[in-house]
Amino acid sequence: MIQIDKLTKKYKSAHALRGVDLHVEEGELFAYLGPNGSGKTTTIRILTGLAYPTSGDAWLHGFHVISETLEAKRQCGLVPQTLNLDHELTVVENLNIHGKLFHMKRRERAARIDELLDYVEINDRRNSPVKQLSGGLKRRVMVARALMHSPRILFLDEPTVGLDPTIRRRIWSLVKKIQQKGCTVFLTTHYIEEAEFLADRVAFLNEGTIVALDTPRALMARLGSWALDKIVDGDMETAYFKDREEANRHIETQKGSFSLRRVNLEDVFISVTGKKVQP
């Protein structure tokens, strides 16, 4: 369970977070979306003890992230946006060091490493130096490492960035599997379809403020069911309709080329942030 109350973070020249309030239930897969610089990574950095908030509070399973930081850190695992594995070390050595950092005993570490390497399907590369692995395999090692100490909350900051669609889908399956084991998953992503496919609930963050929060279905329903895209003076304009009949009636009055499609979460993103998705 994650509880955030009036969280703010101010850097010298800018506000990264402006009073964010949020509650994520235990076992929920929660997607945290927003344009670049909206404060997604800052939120994760504060929750995982990598940065201090300017004001406000946050708790992970009842442990305050500042005053009970060590206990709070034990509750969570982090897969950061940038690869941060020890490239000189092997897969097993990376996991082993992580286990030691989380005070796991030798036998416990060995058993957990075997279990996790099977789980993320890289047991055959267990003794390979990380520098010899592909980007997709490195991501899987990072997920395994974050799960090493059996956290109750897993923070995934853009876990599939830069991966090809096949590998991305494998990571999605892995994330679903992790949630099914009872772990709370807090995900940030630029791939809107990722959030649409995976998340129980989605929050849209814009300029440090949550501007929309609900289930993907409810958020999309706010706009309608169908979207009509049309190019007007070189810019794409989209109109939303409750049902197909309404959309068809509108099409009959239109000239030029257009396309009719189902409303998706990207439409919600653009409507609440006023910005297009930047991969």
Partner: protein, 244 residues
């Protein structure tokens, strides 16, 4: 304690993987100084009744333990700016004291390894001195000072390039001026006053005195322990600052 061991073991794993490269690179500079200053310029020179080679070896021990202990800053910076592993440590439930202690111990281990290399080179060159308890205490204190300084500065710099600048401005001049290659008491009084501000001057004095079996002077030992403790404590604050 386990957190500290994890940090230390990670550094040792990396050191073990590049042990031969690392040891060879540790040997290059002292070997060149021994050849150039010891065998070349120092032939026939005696200082305080000792051959220049005998004078030089303890100086090189002081210099090398300083540079190798300080070199942990480079490893920390690679972990911090290049591989971003520092974030993995920061997200782990370990206290700053565990992180600092692990890194300082790793720096001291590197320093001891480099001292072993120099003593071996000295032995091959036919220089046999006394390496008793006071000698090793002085070496450990010297490496403690510079490993602690390394952690502080590695946390304060904004990039790996800044770290190289600090080495050029502080460590390299100290290596040459801190009583490694010449006796500081032969310098003019004003220069002696300046050089006495350098921790290496006191480390070289303590290491040399103990290697020559001269009566132990507690002052340099206490001074190094004091400086090391201050820097070690300062390192905790620097780790917090780096978090932001």
């Amino acid at each position: 304690m386990r957190g500290c061991l994890a940090i230390y073991q990670r550094e040792m794993l990396i050191l073990r993987k590049k042990f031969f490269r690392q040891t060879a690179s540790m040997s290059v500079a002292p070997l060149l100084y021994l050849i150039a200053f010891g065998l070349g310029m120092g032939q026939g020179v005696s200082i305080g009744g000792r051959t220049y080679m005998e004078f030089l070896i303890p100086g090189l021990v002081a210099m090398s333990s300083m540079t190798q202990a300080f070199a942990i800053a480079g490893e920390i910076n690679i972990a911090r700016f290049y591989w971003r592993i520092f974030e993995e440590f920061q997200a782990a439930p370990i206290r700053n004291i565990a992180y600092v202690t692990g890194e300082v111990l790793a720096g001291m281990t590197r320093a001891l390894l480099s001292v072993g290399v120099i003593l071996l080179i000295g032995l091959i060159s036919g220089v046999v001195l006394h390496y008793g308890v006071f000698f090793w205490v002085a070496v450990l204190l010297n490496s403690f000072v510079f490993a602690s300084l390394a952690v502080c500065l590695a946390m304060l710099v904004a990039s790996h390039a800044d770290q190289a600048l600090l080495t050029n401005f502080f460590i390299t001049p100290m290596a040459f001026l801190g009583g490694t290659f010449f006796p500081v008491d032969r310098m003019p009084p004003w220069a002696q006053s300046v050089l006495n501000f350098l921790p290496l001057t006191h480390a070289a004095h303590a290491i040399r005195s103990s290697a020559f079996q001269q009566p132990a002077d507690p002052y340099p030992y206490l001074l190094l322990a004091g400086i090391g403790t201050v820097l070690f404590v300062l390192a905790f604050w620097c780790v917090n600052r780096a978090k932001e």
